[in-house]
């Protein structure tokens, strides 16, 4: 199934996006680079714990949970095997996906680029492009996942 291919691609892009610098800025001889998890971590260091958790959830944890659920749901389904976690994983995908805000964050990055363009030179890192690719593949994986078909397959596999 196409959805599984997109989901596997998305998983690779997400790992890359978390490992390398996301973007960096240069201004007046100073240089500062940040990584993706730092967006949430810096909020936490500023004492905004709730805000940090929400941001981390919307841009990293929830998308990762949706992605993980797609993988553990589709791998057994494609091989025609039953697994005890199929039903909870399926429910998790459809209840969490409205809370994944990956593409909103990408637009947020572009907006901050424009805001900062006057003050400093901004360089986009590997992680940024990887996160864009992650956003596209996760959207593709979710939109090629047909709800009725998936649940029909779950029913078929578990009744065997």
């Amino acid at each position: 199934m196409r959805s599984l291919a997109f989901a596997m691609g998305a998983a690779v892009f997400l790992v890359i996006a978390c490992m390398f610098p996301f973007m960096s800025m240069k201004a007046g001889g100073f240089e500062n680079a940040m990584t993706l998890p730092q967006t949430a971590l810096e909020l936490y260091y500023n004492g905004r714990t709730a805000l940090a958790l929400l941001v981390a959830g919307f841009i990293l944890l929830v998308p990762a949970a949706v992605l993980g659920s797609i993988l553990v749901l589709l791998v057994p389904l494609i091989r025609g095997r039953n697994a005890p976690w199929l039903v909870p994983a399926g429910r998790l995908i459809f209840s969490l996906s409205p809370w994944s805000m990956v593409e909103v964050f990408v637009i947020g990055v572009i907006v901050s680029l424009v805001k900062l363009a006057a003050m400093a030179t901004i360089v986009l890192g590997i992680s940024f492009w990887s996160y864009v690719a992650f956003s596209l593949s996760l959207t593709a994986a979710l939109s090629s996942l047909d709800r009725s078909y998936v649940w029909g397959a779950v029913e078929q596999v578990s009744s065997r």
Binding site: M23, S24, M25, A27, G28, F30, N32, M34, Q38, T39, A40, L41, E42, L43, N46, R48, A50, L51, L54, V55, F58, I59, V87, G90, R91, F94, S95, P98, W99, M101, V104, F105, I107, G108, V109, V111, S112, V114, K115, L116, A118, M119, R147, S148, W151, V154, E155
Partner: protein, 207 residues
């Protein structure tokens, strides 16, 4: 079951599962396929939606009055609110970005609150006009909600990136959390509104 149009599934005691779309008798309470809770219509849908809309409207005040971020440049700190940021971008000539932020952080939340109130009011008053248009309105409301988070994400990025000590630093403000609250509460409000209620009133005219 005179609450429902006489040829609808609900009138025959059948309910669709919200999670997997399987149609089952509502009397079984839990979907036999995926185990999700089954109900003919979201219970107390109008009350819940209106309560959440009011909560979001209250949170919207601190979200706009308090500073969303503080810029500290060479020892002097300046607070900026959401609208302040839009005005500043407009003066700098970044019209498209100012428009994006204005639409995402001002127009979208306000139109969502207004839209959900209108929907609840029309269903409570048993209006039967323009059901299709109202359903489209609901779908748009549901779709645009997440995009309001742009401004909060921009603050998160600026805070992480602009840390040059005393020279130039950006700190998050209290409005960011309040605004996050507005977005979350309006998303839950849109989810608790049951669009099928719009169509339940159609049967009234035919009988």
């Amino acid at each position: 079951m005179s609450d429902f149009p006489h040829d609808s599934a609900a009138a025959r005691g059948l309910a669709t599962c919200h999670t997997c779309y399987k149609l089952s008798p509502a009397a079984v309470q839990h979907c036999p396929r995926c185990g999700a809770h089954l109900h003919l219509r979201v219970s107390q849908s109008l009350h819940r939606t209106m309560a959440l809309v009011i909560t979001a409207a209250i949170l919207y005040v601190p979200a706009n009055v308090l500073p969303i971020m503080t810029t500290e440049q060479l020892g002097s700190a300046t607070d900026s609110t959401i609208m302040g940021g839009v005005v500043l971008l407009w003066h700098h000539g970044s019209y498209p970005i100012a428009a994006v932020i204005f639409i995402a952080s001002v127009m979208v939340p306000l139109s969502k609150l207004l839209g959900l109130s209108v929907l609840c009011w029309s269903v409570a008053r048993r209006h039967a006009t323009a059901p299709r248009e109202r359903t489209v309105m609901y779908r748009v409301t549901e779709l645009v909600g997440r995009w309001s988070m742009i401004d909060v994400f921009v603050v998160a990025i600026l805070v992480a990136l602009i840390q040059l000590g005393g020279l130039l630093s950006i700190y998050p403000g209290s409005a960011a959390l309040a605004f996050c609250g507005v977005v979350i509460v309006t998303i839950i409000a849109a989810e608790s509104f049951d669009p099928r209620l719009i169509w339940d009133r159609l049967g009234d005219g035919n009988e």
